[in-house]
Amino acid sequence: MISRELMAPLMFGGLVVFMLIGYPVTFSLAAVGLFFGFISIHLGFFDFILLQALPERVYGILSNDTLLAIPFFTLMGAILERCGLAEDLLDGLGQLFGPVRGGLGYAVIVVGAILGAITGTVAASVIAMGLISLPVMMRYGYDQRFATGVIAASGTITQLIPPSLVLIVLADVLGRSVGDMYAGAWGPSVVQVLLFSAYVLLVSFVKPEWVPGIPRESLTLHGWPLVKKCLWGIVPSLVLIFLVLGTIFLGLATPTEAGAMGTVGAIVLAVVHRPEFSKRAKIAFWIGAVAITVISVPEALLLMPEAMPQVVLDASTGFLATFKTPLFIVFYAGLAMVMLESVLIPTLRGLLAEASRSTMRITAMVIFILIGSTIFTLVFRGVDGDLWIEHLLSGLPGGKVGFLIFVNVFVFFLAFFLDFFEIAFIIVPLLAPVAAKLGIDLIWFGVLLCVNMQTSFMHPPFGFALFYLRSIAPKEIKSSAIYWGAIPWVVLQVIMVAIVIAWPGLVTAFLDKGNDVDPTKIKIEVPASDYDKKEGAEEEAPPDFSTPEKK
């Protein structure tokens, strides 16, 4: 006879063992959950009704509007990865910064941040930068370790800068709004870019031979063509960033819709980049672009009512009242023409099909980890596992700080062999209630974990970013160089964690400031989202972290 107190530790131990043997995580989770569920029913710890709640939970996951953002952002990333934007950016900025000592390093960091602000996939950034910047860095005598390290690390910035997938997942698990998570992540993102750049600067003083400047005569572009190249990369990026992040923060769209619009933007960008882009579609593109620009000027003026004289405001309102709808029709017609092009150009059609295939599989994989962990967690709470964890963690010396240090060290080591989806779905739900009880702001907690989990991409020898880099790096780069190269950046990342712990204001300050355009108040204008109160209430409402009812 197993006593009730033993169930939770046994379950947790069983999970660790069964995950380690290497069968797909979701099924191990589900099986451990169900197995212990039936044992508990047999021993009378709870009723069969608890297990009958499982399908409703699965339904709650599937009807979750926030999680719908995962396929959209993945699709956007998958399209952008193949459309040549990263190449333009790297080539332009590389030549712009190149002559400075360490310049290619700065270029990679900046491009990593820009790509990060557009989409949310590490793979895309690392692969693009590895393919384009790494050979250039090698040619001009950059140190191998430095070059691979800066590329891997900059690729992971994507994880922290909104609109990152990690933040969406964490928002869901912590029961906070995605908009808040995004707002909170801005401060640390900026600090991280600065910290990385500072390291490059430091290297350029301490070890100048690692990061030589490119001789000016070897640049292929000068003057206006170079500026044009940079603009050709940066302008579309800014438009996409506005389309995705701007619309979220201005309250024009939910994060999910922003992802969908970003995908449309990515498709347009992919079309514009193709040489097969037809003349008639080109005309449609420019007409549409003009139409949307004409609309956005008065719209932008109206966004700052305090700074504008009344005449301008009245004029803008009047203009929009008359011309908004016709101009939008023109814009949408242009958009439709360009989108049509993406179906007509065979290579592009193939690209889109491939992108949706890989998106579908990633989505199914991610959502199934969540389904598996839901099954596990429900039973785990049913046998008071949450109380057990809470008891363990609240017994730590040092209260709040002790808890945070423990959690971060724990996650740091877990990140060696679990990736962030697994940590976010399996571990974070166990930690969050304790954090909430200790009075820790969950947005801050989430952003902190996000910074920490970035290391999971860089840990030698299992880090994803290192894998990607290895797969595309030229042969003369040794694997050991990639592994050693990552270490200083992992250290920087640990410093970042310390910074975020020491200055919570970095996260929360942006939250308070955002009150006038509160991203949490994004409302769809139709009387929608009632469904989540009715059926999915359990899942949609912020999890209350209480134990489910049992016998």
């Binding site: 043997i21 990736d419 989806f421 204008e525």
Partner: protein
């Protein structure tokens, strides 16, 4: 063995076909979501049906796509030990996992989730939102998805067994999915 492998091929083919639907749902739901946002902004026109159809499609892409993801060996593993095993041991892990983890879990979930579809069907449940959709078409994805997953798990089991007994060339390529 031969007839089992034939069965496995049938299952694989069926789930692959269904995955095409799932692929389409990705693109379609994305366009609907963007279109909905665009039309709401420009014309103030939007509807609950369009909002709901997005997550119906989401449910569809996950539950119809998961079996094919399993076939492609793309459900994420903790590969710290697994990647160091030889091929026979890896096959062993997969057989063990299929028998003790996947099949029981998916069969139980399919069984448990049947009632929520069935009740919705019998009661002809409709969304509580104005202009919302009938619920059973989305709820059927849950038992259906788990049932398809157990079929695919069975097919994988057959294939692993065939690999172990030399009826089939071992092919256990596992690569962590891109993120």
């Amino acid at each position: 063995m031969k007839s089992l492998l034939a069965l496995s091929r049938v299952i694989d083919a069926m789930n692959e076909r269904l995955s095409y639907i799932a692929n389409w749902l990705v693109m379609l739901s994305c366009l609907i979501s963007a279109g909905n946002a665009f039309s709401r902004y420009a014309f103030g026109a939007s509807s609950n049906a369009w909002l709901e159809i997005q997550w119906y499609m989401f449910a569809g892409m996950v539950m119809l796509g998961t079996s094919y993801t399993l076939k492609k060996n793309e459900h994420v593993r903790v590969d710290i030990v697994f990647s160091n095993l030889n091929t026979r041991r890896q096959i062993g892990v997969d057989i063990f996992g299929a028998i003790f983890f996947l099949l029981p879990a998916t069969l139980i979930m399919a069984y448990l989730s049947w009632p929520i579809f069935h009740n919705s069907w019998v009661e002809n449940e409709v969304s509580t939102n104005a202009g919302g959709l009938t619920r059973w078409p989305v709820k059927i994805f849950i038992p259906l998805g788990f049932a398809l997953l157990s079929l695919q798990g069975f097919s994988e089991l057959i294939k692993r067994w065939a690999m172990l007994t030399g009826h089939m060339k071992a092919n256990l390529h596992y690569e962590r999915p891109l993120q």
